[in-house]
Structures are given as C-alpha cells and as structure tokens.
Amino acid sequence: MTNNTDYRISDIMTCAISNMLQDNETVFHGVSSHLPMVAMKLAKSMHAPDLVHLNIPGGVNPGSIQHSSYSSAGAELLGTGEAYFPLQEVFDLSMRGKLDVAFLGGIQFDINGNVNASVIGNYHKPKVRLPGGAGSAVLIPTAKKAIIWRTKHDKRTFVEKVDFTTTRGNLWRIVTPLCVFEFRHGKLHLESIHPTSSLEEVQENTGFELIYDKLKYTSLPTKQELQMLKKIDPHDYRSIEF
C-alpha cells in the first residue's frame, strides 16, 4: 500500500496502541514515553473514558498532556490530575496484581520474548551501556499486560538472541513502525502488519524467522481518531522519537 498523506507511522502506532486499551483498565507509562502517553489519552477520549492513567509524577488521570514537550514525567501530569498516586505506589499496585497495562521500552528483543534494555556486550565491561530497563524488570512480570513500543524495527533490534536479558516472559505486545508482535506460548508471533509495510519488509528487518498463522493487517487510523489526536496532541509529541 502506498503512503497516504492523512496519517503517518506515528499515528498508526498511536492508534494501534490506543485500541489495545480497554475501559476501566489501570494503565502506566514512564519517562521518555510520549507515544504511549498520547495513545492512553486517545483511548480515554474515544472508547475508554474510565481508563485510569497513571504516571511517574503521580497525577491520576491528567487533564492535559500538552505542555510536556521534553518529558513524559513532568509536573503538568500531576497539576492537571485528579489525585496523587506516585511511582512507588504504582509499583506496589503492580506487585499486588492490580496494574492492568504497563508501557515499557527496550533496545533488543528476541523470538523467545527476552528484552534487553541494559547493555550491548558484557554486563560488567559493556561495549555500549544503555539507559537501563527502568521499571521493566519488575513490571513486565507483574503487570497483566506489558506493551512494548519501539520506533525502530531492524535486525539490530529484533535479534536471534539478545546480548543481555533485562527481563523476560509475560510480554503481551510489541508495537513497531512495521508491525505488531504478540507473545504467546513462549514465542513472538506476528500479530498484524501495518498496511504501510509488507510481510517481506518485516522479514527483511527481523533477525529471526517470523511466526504467524494467517496474515492480518493493523487497522488504519480512523478519521475520528485523527481528529481527536489533533485536539489532544496538537504539538505532535507522539512523533518525538521519529
């Protein structure tokens, strides 16, 4: 499918993530997480009005995410929120099994659901020291659904075997600029391909053999979704990582 000028990859990813979120779910995002933050706000504005938006500064259900250009952990989220529920309590909530969805990052992933956000090379003398997994190592095992998003999809990201396992197991979905993976029965399965990409392109950019039952395509953003995105994210923070 050819490029359509009405939407971009960041819009497809944001809408795909938004559609994974359900009403009444408790959902958390951390730092450097503009795209999921916008997706949460989109879901809340469209089909999930009672979704509970949790974040690091501790603002429950922030009313606005428009002034957070450089940070998804700024005070605005609390200043426009309805209650204070800070990070340490979000972690405790997840440990009690009451966090429905957590958004996490990572640099390398393999077919067995191993996630690396720590190092390239040896842990004690790394070739590249990465920022670290932040909450991943405790949230991926405890949140009901862990969603990973990554704005790069290449053979250095989706590898045969990760250099280091920051955490593993209990992933739910990985959303990339090309496709959505689902983790089931211990393996990453190709869940859907964005209509802007193709099976060939996904395979060419993935370091392991793709597993899929039947080919599905990710839903494209609807007109209503795109209109709402303009309203809730006028400064296009969802595209910061692109």
């Binding site: 952990a73 800070p86 920051t166 910061i240």
Partner: protein
Amino acid sequence: MKKLKSLKDAIQIINDGDMVSFGGNVLHRAPMAAVREIARQNKKNLRLVKTAGAQDIDLLCAMGCVESVDAGFVSYESKYGLANHYRKGVQSGTIKGNEHACYTVICALRGASMNVPFMPVKGLNAGDLLVENDYFVVVEDPFSGEPVTLVKSLVPDVAIIHVQECDEKGNAIIYGPKFEDTLLSRAAKKVIITAEQIVPETKTKLNAERVDIPGFLVDSVVHVPKGAAPSSCYKKYDIDDKSISSFIGMKTKEEMLAYLKSYEVKDYIGERMGRR
C-alpha cells in the same frame, strides 16, 4: 546548632567514597547546584544512588567524581538522548554501573529507612540482572518455601533534596511531584536540603500538615534560588533547554570547568540574599 549554611559548607560534609543520593527525577527538581558544588570540591569515588537520573549523574561522571551508580535508568529523556559521560565511564571500566529496576532502588531505600539489611521484592524473578548483580539474591521464603528475591538495602551517607520552601529548622515543603524524596529523607544518614526560598518558621507552622520532610531529619539547609536549574522546578521554572543541550555537547574537561564556573555566581547567590 545552626542548620542554615552556605552551599560550600553544606557540601563539605560529604566525604570521598560516600554513598550519595539525589532527589527529583530525570529532568525534574534534581539538586543541580549541590551537584555542581560536589564537582567543584572535587569529591572522589562517590557511590551514587537514584531511581532515575540524568544530568546529576552524568555531570559527576564527567568530572571523575564517581565510583559506582546504582540506578534503574540513567538517561535524559527522548529529546536530549543518552547520558554519554556515564556511558563512557561504565564502558571504559572506570565506573561500575549497578543496574536496578527503579522499584528495587525504592525497596533498597525502604530497607534503609527501616534499618533492615535487605528487602524482599516481588516481580524480579527472571533474567540476567539477578545473575550478574551481587545485591540481588534469591532465597527460599522460610514461611512458604517459595523462592523470593531480596535486594540489599542502600543506606545513603548523604541525601540531597531540592525543595521549593524550607524554614531554618529544615522543615521542607515540596510542591508538585515528590518522586521518592520523602522516602530518601528517611533512608539517608544525613540530609541536605537546598531550597528556592527560606521561609519563616511561622509559615511552615501554619502549613504543618504540608511539611514533607520534618526538620529534625535535616542536617543542613541551603538557600539556593534556581538550585534545580537547568532541571525544572514546579511552580518556579521550567528546564533550561540551552544549558542542558550545551552540556550534552561538551567533550573536554575545560569546557565543563567553564560550565561549572558559569554557574558560580548563581549557585552562591542565596548566601547574600538572606531570608526571604
């Protein structure tokens, strides 16, 4: 004893080799004036602790003050990219990068606040962090027989927390997100508060239930307006984009010394202003 001190005097209580922890989170309310003073005083072999840090950790790594960093995440946010001085230090082997899961730093500080040697942590039950780090141990729960992960408590020698308001006794009020700062004030052996404003005790007394850190836990109080800059300070100022960007671009020690020098007047201005 008088707690209100100059920035220089307050930072002098930090010894080489101390475990030091900073308040705030990534680009927000980090006690940057104190961090710059630590660098000016050329402290060595510090063991830094923070759930998620950015320029605080990066600057001290750049200036050769750091032996190890215990943190869940060390990076600027998306727009600014990675903490390159920290990275280089860990990659060259001069700094030990002890990766945590943010929550394990919180649990390790909770352990310190309760004066127990370790804390059980749920969630951390798979992967290489457990294998490679000696501060995580999996043992058998003596009650259920199930495996349980323990994290060794982290007891900072000194915690430095920047707040909007503090009185001369050290009663400190944080506006906006508190991050892990109140916990940190209970976990550390000594607490230094740097404050935008030194307010009269009568004012904190009127808002006693708003005091986040009671003065009896505090050893030093320093008046440093703009003491979190270039990170943000809620209700006071937003980040200083230019300063952060220019620092990230710096390569040589000379550039960084000049950067520290450029903040000297601002960092020491509180001493001359007195109480406001």
